[in-house]
Each structure stands twice: as structure tokens, then as C-alpha cells.
């Protein structure tokens, strides 16, 4: 069965929804939400049907149209459907559906309900575009669209100055990475003459030296794009600020989609990276993971903790790609999408109940008020911490195993980060959900409505079983055909211990240490005991190692100075002399010329005759 049109429908439904909502149903909130939600849910269902119809065959399928060909410039518009993109498609539409439905409940009272859903659908469309693109150009266009739509979403409450600033920051930081990405694409195109992933891969397989001396540079420039989108050090600063957006947006951006786009892109283009480039990628990933985990330990805002946790986990995934194990990275991406979306939506549920209070030290004892939220949040936490047999354990183990095989220092960092992860997550749980009520808002808190809790339940189930339903085998089979993979549930469950026992056991040990530390420090704490114990380090962690201040002092100062100079040039030279001058001259000409158009018929006839005379003279007069 071919079903060639299904992928197109999946891709364009959200766009259609976005267009229809913007143009027709602005005033009708209910229809808008229904349109947007049904677009993505139908997309999810169609994805499942498509995979089922192709009997889960990880064979590469491409459908493409000749988008443009003008002489030598040939651009196609095509979709590439292999295991990688299909799995990602499932994640994006699946988790996306949950988030869309949840948004209905969360955003219910917002004035611009329709605009929210339009942006959400536009974002989904762009994301699907990245996932299904079969060439660099198309991916880049969707990539930019993701940037634009995330700008719209993060800055959704643009009346709030902080939200507008955060949106701008996210956009500009991403543009920095995208600029590198564009240069990288140009290098690849110049060297290989094609932008199609399949053709590029085949070309490089035939002739590994085809990229020539620029190979490492080209790869790293492409990686720049991923650094921006996946918020890798040093372009990570935008992501925690992006929490200013509505919580479902945070979930969408931080869990399943935007930040995952970078990792997905790295896996998609894995074939162009040289070993040196991979080395750099791995270390940047490792550093990001460690740094972000440390910062997360001392944050008090529930969403910021999750944001830094996301950063840290993304570091893991990028590190996995750098360690030549993109399948492990994608595996972790998938499981992470489930439990991080779950955690964000849980946090959203808490924030909703607490009337937009986000400080964990003003919560406490929520487990009794909001049992569903509490238990699902607990599941997410355990999965993130890597408790066997929850999904996070398996994917994290795959990465640790890759590190164990390739690089000892990175392995140690990985385990350390795992311990830190457990520590800060349980710190969050102990402080926010257990213990006594820390503010009177807790007294009024109550469980969220069903549209919000059901997505939580569903995501919780996936967070539990996500590691053993064959996701890894799928990615593994796609990226390393012919590799060995366990069959059967029991074999899946114990596979990590057989395959790389040291990695698995150190992962569990890290969990134990983290849990113990969190328990001793926070189980009965009235306030945070850490600042007293580790002093300066704690302040550094809380202040995010002063990266923003650093940028403020260096990059932004330099930028401002340059801007001032350029502005001067612009205003006095270009603005005054060139633009004013030419604009003035242009409109002067326009004003003079239009007096030719005097309205007098006689003059018109005369001008026509004069024109004929001039043309005759021009052609025959000599």
C-alpha cells in the first residue's frame, strides 16, 4: 500500500487550520480550538495509519515534487519518510496532540484564545516540515518558520515586557545559530552540488573525501544551527527565559519539538560529520549537560528547574550524537519527549491551581490536593531520574554505554549529571508536593479539569513503557542496519545489564546517591539548606554562572557600540544623503511626472502623437 498523499495531508492540515483560524474564525473561540486540535489529532491518527499500512517497514520512502527548476538551479519539495522521520512524526503529533488538548483547558480564559491556537498550529506545521523535509533547503525554510512561530508563542503575552524580551532573545539567539547553519548548507551545496539528504549520503558514501578540506568546518557550521535550536552552550541563554510563554508552549517547545529539532537534525545529517567535528559536538553536549544540571540545583521557579533540566538532557542527546550513537540520542529524545512533556504539563497544572504562583518554596503539601497531578508528576520525575524499568533508564543507559565505549571523561560527566538530575528533581518533588503547606494559596488549590489531567495520564503511561516498546531497536535498525537488538519484553528489560553492565549499574548508583542527598537535605526543609553549606557555588548556580551578565557585559556591549557607530553612519550618511536624498528625488520626480497627467484630453492626445513622432524618429529618422 502506498498512500502517497497521507504525508502531505499530515503536513498541511495544521497549516490549513492556522490559515482558517486567522482568516475566518478569529471571533469563534470554540471552532478555532476544535480546528487546531483536530488538525494535529488527525495528523497523529494518519501517521499511525501510514506506519501500519507500511507494516512498520523502516525502508526509505520519498515523495517529492520538482518545486522549482530554473536552469541549473533545481529545488525540490519533498518528504522523506524513513524510520527516523516516522518515529519523530509520531512523537511530534502524539505529544503535540496531548499538549493541544491540554491547552484548551489551560488557556480557557485567555482573551486571545484563537490567536494562540493559530500560532500553535503554525508551529506544528513548521515542526512537521523539519521532520519530513528531504533536503536541506526545505528543512532550513521550516527551521526558520519554527523560529518565527516560536517567537509568536513565547511572546504570546506581549503586553508583559518580560515575555516580549524573552521572545526577542530566543529569536535573535536562534538567528545566530541559523546563520551558521545557512553557511554550512552553502558549503555542502557548493561541494556536493545537491541538497537532498539521500543523494548527499550516497555521494559521501561513494567518496568520503568529497567535502574536501572544508568538511569539518561545514559540519560544525551545520551544527551551529542545532546549537541554537537545541540551546547548547554557549547559545543556551534563551531557553530558560522562554518560560515566559504560556506553560503549554513551554511543554511544546521544551519537550517534543523545537529543542528536539536540533538533535533530530544532527541525526538526520549524521553522515556529514567528520570525527573531529563529532569530538567537538560531544564535548559541547557534555558541558551543556553538566552546567545546566548544576544550575538547576539552585533554581526556585518550578518552570525554570524544568527548563534547565531540559537543557541538561539535550546536552545528553547532543553528546550521544557526538559519541557516534545518534540512535541513542534519538531514543533519549523520544522518551524525554514523553516525560518532559508530562512534567511541564504537571507543572502547568500546579501553576494553574496556584493562580500563577511558580515559586516551589511557596507550595508544599500539594500531593493531597492534587493526587493525579502528583502521581503523574512522580512518574515523570522517576523516568527522568532513570529508575529501572521506566523509559528514562533505558535511553540514558544507551547514552552512558556509548560514552563508556568511547570516552572516559564524558562517561564520568554523564554519571555525575545523572546524579545531579535525581537530586534536583527530587528536591522539587519534596519541596513542592510533600511537607506542609507553605502559603495559603495551597489551601485553595484543587485538581485541574479533565482536559488537563487526561493528557497527564496518557503521557505517564508512555513515560513508563516508552523504553521497552522497541523504540531503540527502531532507531538502531535505521542508523546501523543489521545490528543486534533484543526481542521480547523480558529481554528488553534486562538488556542494558547484559550489554554494558558498568554503565547500567553506575546509572542506578547515580540515582541512589541523588535520591539520598535530596532526601537528607530537603525532605523536611523549611528553606533551602544548600546556600549555607556551599556558599559561593550555590550563588553561582542560582545566578546561572553569570552567563547572561557575561553576555550583557561583552557581547551586548560590543553589539551596542557597533550599533551606535552603524547608527551614526546610517543616520547621517546613508539616511541623510542616500535615502533621504533619493527618496526626496524620487517623490519629487513622481510629483513632477504626475503633472503630465493633467487630466486634459487634448494634452493626452498631443502626448500620444508626440510619442509616436519620437519613436518614428528614433527608428526611422536616421
Amino acid at each position: 500500500m502506498h498512500l502517497q498523499t497521507l504525508p502531505w495531508i499530515i503536513l498541511f492540515l495544521p497549516l490549513l487550520a492556522a490559515v482558517v483560524i486567522t482568516l475566518f474564525t478569529q471571533r469563534d473561540r470554540k471552532t478555532s480550538a476544535t480546528l487546531s486540535i483536530s488538525a494535529i489529532v488527525i495528523g497523529f491518527v494518519l501517521t499511525v495509519i501510514f506506519i501500519k499500512a507500511n507494516s512498520f517497514n523502516p525502508e526509505v520512502k520519498e515523495v517529492s515534487l520538482n518545486w522549482l527548476d530554473i536552469g541549473p538551479l533545481q529545488a525540490e519539495f519533498g518528504l522523506r519518510l524513513d524510520a527516523l522521520s516516522l518515529m519523530m512524526l509520531l512523537v511530534v503529533t502524539g505529544v503535540g496532540s496531548a499538549i493541544h488538548i491540554y491547552s484548551w483547558g489551560y488557556m480557557h480564559e485567555d482573551r486571545c484564545f484563537s490567536r494562540f491556537f493559530a500560532s500553535l498550529s503554525l508551529f506544528t506545521f513548521s515542526m512537521l516540515g523539519i521532520v519530513m523535509a528531504n533536503n536541506f533547503l526545505q528543512m532550513f525554510i521550516s527551521w526558520e518558520l519554527v523560529g518565527v512561530s516560536s517567537y509568536l508563542l513565547i511572546g504570546f503575552w506581549y503586553e508583559k515586557a518580560s515575555a516580549a524580551d524573552a521572545a526577542k532573545k530566543a529569536f535573535i539567539t536562534n538567528r545566530l545559530g541559523d546563520f551558521g547553519f545557512m553557511l554550512g548548507i552553502l558549503i555542502v551545496w557548493a561541494a556536493l552540488g545537491s541538497l537532498n539528504f539521500g543523494k548527499l549520503e550516497a555521494g559521501l558514501a561513494d567518496n568520503p573525501a568529497a567535502l574536501g578540506s572544508l568538511a569539518t568546518l561545514g559540519g560544525l557550521l551545520v551544527f551551529c544551527g542545532a546549537m541554537g535550536k537545541s540551546a547548547q552552550f554557549p547559545l543556551h541563554v534563551w531557553l530558560p527565559d522562554a518560560m515566559e510563554g504560556p506553560t503549554p508552549v513551554s511543554a511544546l517547545i521544551h519537550a517534543a519539538t523545537m529543542v528536539a529539532a536540533g538533535v533530530y537534525m544532527l541525526s538526520r545529517t549524521f553522515f556529514i560529520y567528520t570525527p573531529e567535528a563529532l569530538q567537538v559536538i560531544a564535548w559541547i553536549g557534555g558541558c551543556t549537560a553538566l552546567l545546566a544540571a548544576l544550575v538547576a540545583v539552585q533554581q526556585n521557579d518550578i518552570k525554570r528547574i524544568l527548563a534547565y533540566s531540559t537543557l541538561s538532557q539535550l546536552g545528553y542527546m547532543v553528546m550521544a550524537v557526538g559519541l557516534a550513537a545518534p540512535e541513542a540520542g534519538m531514543f533519549h529524545l523520544t522518551t524525554h519527549a514523553f516525560f518532559k512533556a508530562l512534567l511541564f504539563l504537571g507543572a502547568g497544572s500546579v501553576i494553574h491551581a496556584m493562580h500563577h504562583e511558580q515559586d516551589i518554596w511557596r507550595m508544599g503539601g500539594l500531593c493531597k490536593k492534587m493526587p493525579v497531578t502528583y502521581w503523574t508528576f512522580m512518574v515523570g520525575t522517576m523516568a527522568l531520574a532513570g529508575v529501572w524499568p521506566l523509559s528514562g533508564f533505558f535511553s540514558k543507559d544507551a547514552i552512558l554505554a556509548a560514552a563508556w565505549h568511547h570516552s572516559m571523561p564524558l562517561f564520568i560527566i554523564g554519571v555525575g549529571v545523572a546524579a545531579l538530575t535525581t537530586f534536583y528533581m527530587f528536591r522539587l518533588v519534596f519541596v513542592a508536593f510533600l511537607g506542609g503547606e507553605r502559603s495559603h494559596e495551597v489551601g485553595h488549590a484543587h485538581e485541574s479539569p479533565w482536559v488537563m489531567t487526561w493528557p497527564l495520564r496518557i503521557l505517564a503511561v508512555f513515560s513508563i513503557v516508552g523504553g521497552v516498546i522497541g523504540v531503540e531497536a527502531l532507531f538502531g535498525g535505521m542508523l546501523h542496519p543489521g545490528g543486534e537488538h533484543p526481542h521480547g519484553l523480558a529481554a528488553q528489560l534486562v538488556y542494558p545489564f547484559k550489554h554494558a553492565p558498568v554503565a547500567a549499574l553506575s546509572g542506578l548508583a547515580a540515582f541512589g546517591i541523588g535520591l539520598f542527598a535530596a532526601w537528607t537535605l530537603y525532605a523536611r526543609a523549611k528553606e533551602d539548606p544548600l546556600p549555607a553549606r556551599i556558599g559561593t557555588l550555590s550563588r553561582w548556580m542560582r545566578d546561572r554562572f553569570y552567563f547572561d551578565e557575561l553576555y550583557e557585559a561583552t557581547v551586548i556591549k560590543v553589539h551596542d557600540a557597533t550599533a551606535a557607530v552603524v547608527d551614526w553612519f546610517d543616520r547621517w550618511l546613508i539616511g541623510f544623503a542616500a535615502v533621504r536624498g533619493s527618496a526626496g528625488a524620487t517623490s519629487l520626480f513622481g510629483n513632477v511626472l504626475r503633472f503630465i497627467q493633467s487630466g486634459s484630453l487634448q494634452a493626452y492626445a498631443f502626448l500620444l502623437v508626440l510619442g509616436v513622432a519620437v519613436i518614428l524618429f528614433f527608428v526611422l529618422g536616421r
Binding site: Q602, F606, V609, L610, V612, A613, L616, F617, L620
Partner: protein, 169 residues
């Protein structure tokens, strides 16, 4: 015979040109009525020239349609609108000079091209514009334009009715 034809040509041509001058630049009267009457005369002279060119059918049509129908329409409209009082407006000399110069330039270029080309060399004037021959052409090779022209006449009819109907319902 040859000479008689030549004389007739000069007579008709001179008359046609003089009448045409009277149409556009009558020194004695600016009334549209005189212009129209001189135009009728020009048409008549042209019909004469057509006859000299052995285009007998067209000469008849020229008299019937142009002088007989079109010009009557003109006169009818002039009378209907009663355009007497507008004669006092004068031609501006600037526009007259500009017009003369550009029209003169076109005419000069035409005459130069004509002299350079000499289209009449070796031409044998022997075609007869008889009604039957023309009719045959019209209803075979030129049937399509003929039919389109009939549509055009219908459109013109509808247009005239729409534009000049007194009451707008």
C-alpha cells in the same frame, strides 16, 4: 483616357484635401456643423478616388455608410445637443504650433520613407473591386472576421441603447 483619369485624380485629391482642411481648420467658422458638412464632402471625394481605383463596391459603401449614415448621425447629434454657443472658445496658439510640429514630423518621416521605398515601382494596376468577387472573399476566407464584426455591431447596438436611454430604471 489615361489623362482623363489623371485629371480626375488631381481634382478629387485636391478637393479631398481642401475639404479636410476645412473640417479641422476652417478659418471662417468653428461650428461643428460646417466641419460635418465638409467631412461629407471629403467622403464624397474619397468615393471618387475609390472609383478611380476600380473599387466600385467600396465607393458605393463609402457614400451609403459614411456619407449617408455616419455623417447623418453626427449631424443629428450636433442638432440634438444644440452646440452653438461654444464657438467662441479659441484655439491656443501654443498647442497649434506643437501640434503642427509633431504632425509635420510624422508626415515628413512618412514622405522620406515613401521616397526611400518607392512601393509603386513596377506595380500593375489591374484588380477590379467588383461586388461578386468581394462577396466571395468575404463569405469564404474572411467569414470569421465578418461574423465577429456582426457581434461587434450587436454590442454597439446594446451599448448605444444603454448609454442613451433616458430613464435609469
Amino acid at each position: 483616357m489615361e489623362n482623363a483619369q489623371a485629371y480626375l485624380f488631381y481634382v478629387f485629391a485636391a478637393l479631398a484635401v481642401i475639404c479636410a482642411i476645412m473640417v479641422v481648420a476652417n478659418p471662417f467658422s468653428r461650428s461643428p456643423v460646417t466641419s460635418a458638412m465638409f467631412l461629407v464632402l471629403t467622403m464624397g471625394c474619397l468615393a471618387g478616388l475609390f472609383t478611380l481605383l476600380h473599387a466600385f463596391f467600396l465607393a458605393a459603401v463609402q457614400i451609403l455608410v459614411y456619407a449617408g449614415a455616419v455623417m447623418v448621425l453626427f449631424l443629428f447629434v450636433i442638432m440634438l445637443l444644440d452646440l452653438k454657443e461654444e464657438q467662441r472658445r479659441q484655439v491656443k496658439s501654443l498647442s497649434l504650433v506643437a501640434g503642427l510640429v509633431s504632425v509635420g514630423a510624422i508626415l515628413a518621416i512618412f514622405v522620406r520613407s515613401l521616397i526611400a521605398t518607392k512601393p509603386g515601382e513596377g506595380a500593375l494596376a489591374n484588380v477590379e473591386g467588383s461586388t461578386s468577387k468581394l462577396g466571395k472573399l468575404l463569405f469564404t476566407q474572411y467569414l470569421l472576421p465578418f461574423e465577429i464584426v456582426s457581434v461587434l455591431l450587436l454590442v454597439a447596438m446594446v451599448g448605444v441603447v444603454l448609454l442613451s436611454k433616458k430613464d435609469l430604471k
